[in-house]
Symmetry: C2
Subunit: 310 residues, 2 copies
């Protein structure tokens, strides 16, 4: 019996990921994580979505800020400001240790997959966290004033620019993670697309050369959980992007976005009436995850839904 593969980006997806990790053993579940919003900053390789997931799984995520590491301090970045350094991406003193560790390991020739495994081990994470690729893919957001590197759009400019499209630079030359392909090829039990931003968190993973073929070929049900509830995004700019892209900001539209890839779609009770608009099987659930119990409950519903599709 193989594993489930959960495809995820940062905060929104990581909530369900934590629920899944609570109900599935490490031998039953692996995570495929977006690295399209990785970037080089202050000489460091930063992998925001991988870090959000690992901090979340390690129960070390910062619940005050909603990003970064718990029990954080900011002496480094405050002092960097005194030297006129760039401070729009707030690197905490503890978080910095992870970025330095990763950057050193990459410089010494390790792959992102290897260094992520090593970081997970240090953080006590038993589930496999698999960056989508060891090759560089860089998401750029197309705006009226030109392309913006994702973190500049997302963090520096606080998602203010109007979006008209996306580029995943380097994706044509990027290979999907061999470890992810192995999960899919090895009697995969199901694929869960977590409630992450379809455009900038999930599409970079799905659009890797060969990834959609591998998903189809694995034969396991592919189920997405809607990141849109009641027309708004639980977290992040998904709904704003949909409006700017001139598509309906609805759960049903997210399902249409994934198209023929899906075997099932989980949508919130608030959106139960969109059920009829969908060509895939649906599962209606309470999908707003405030507590850990909510995360576990949605994970359970999603896994049961997949089992029902087998």
């Amino acid at each position: 019996m193989g594993r489930y593969l959960a495809i995820t980006g940062g905060v929104g997806g990581a909530k369900l990921a934590l629920g899944l990790a609570n109900i599935l053993e490490p031998r039953e579940l692996a995570f495929a994580v977006n690295t399209g919003d990785d970037f080089d900053h202050l000489g460091l390789h930063i992998s925001p979505d991988v870090d959000t997931l690992t901090y979340t799984l390690a129960e070390a995520s910062n619940t005050e800020t909603g990003w970064g590491r718990a029990d954080e301090s900011w002496r480094f970045i405050e002092t960097l400001a005194e030297f006129g350094g760039e401070t729009w991406f707030r690197l905490g003193d503890r978080d910095l240790a992870l970025h330095v560790t990763r950057t050193r390991a990459l410089a010494s020739g390790q792959t992102l997959t290897q260094v992520t495994a090593s970081i997970c081990q240090s953080l006590g994470i038993a589930h496999q966290v698999l960056p989508m690729s060891d090759d560089s893919v860089r998401t750029f957001v197309t705006t009226a004033t030109g392309p913006l590197a994702f973190q500049h759009y997302f963090v520096r400019d606080r998602c203010a620019p109007v979006v008209s499209g996306f580029e995943f630079r380097g994706i044509d030359q990027a290979a999907p993670s061999a470890a992810i392909l192995e999960v899919l090829a090895d009697d995969c039990r199901g694929v869960i697309i977590c409630p992450s931003n379809p455009f900038v968190s999930v599409d970079p993973i799905l659009n890797l050369p060969g990834m959609r073929d591998a998903l189809r070929a694995c034969g396991a049900p592919v189920v997405a959980v809607s990141p849109i509830v009641g027309g708004i995004a639980i977290k992040g700019p998904t709904a704003k992007m949909m409006a700017e892209l001139k598509v309906p900001s609805t759960a049903a539209q997210v399902a249409r976005h994934y198209g023929g890839l899906l075997d099932g779609f989980v949508l919130d009770e608030q959106d139960a009436d969109q059920h009829g608009q969908l060509e895939v099987k649906t599962c209606v659930a309470q999908s707003v995850m405030s507590s850990l119990a909510d995360r576990i409950a949605l994970a359970r519903v999603t896994v049961d839904f997949i089992e029902s599709l087998v």
Copy 2:
């Protein structure tokens, strides 16, 4: 009327440097600083002697540890330890901001001289702090078990290995700082060799190609202040090294080490009896600097001594 040039390494020399900065205007004094113990660590370019001097001049040096920055915290390095990172060189959270700033500036093509000027400006230092060279010189300590990079000897191994010699790798290809040569050429008023380690702090500066010629050619008195008082080093491994090199651990021996370069030598009251062993003019002073007043007093005595030699 030109400037004084003070040649210095880290902690010991920086004490007198601070005294000098208190009695001489920025237009009257520049510092030539050892960079032989610079090293690359965790992807950062670290210049320990330059940093000790700048923190000292900025009154931002850490008096608890004797190194690093005041009002420091250690969240980064503690967390790095959790990831199995190297922690023998204790980088404080605030100190780290300086190293990141320098490393980024060097990577963008600035010289060490330029980035040091910029850091000094941020720290409110008006005197010119001039790294000895913009080229890489790396001090290695020769030991029974082979050469040791200086910081490995000094910090990691706490000066325990027995020293039999020194190498300044890269020095033959290194040019002295153009700004230092300019201070010497421009009606220099005097050269003060601060009470730093002669072997690893001062010699890398003096041994730069052309530096001794420039010192001689400037015509100004060259005076050294003894780092050895009563047979022991006020700070650091100078006396231990002298014993291992099988030379007397005395102030007079330091003067002999500098040889014909010196026009004068400042030795402590405790060592007044060594006066007769010296071929240069001497000045006996209270040279143990505990307070700021001690630093200023020794600076005053040294400058007056130089003026007497003109």
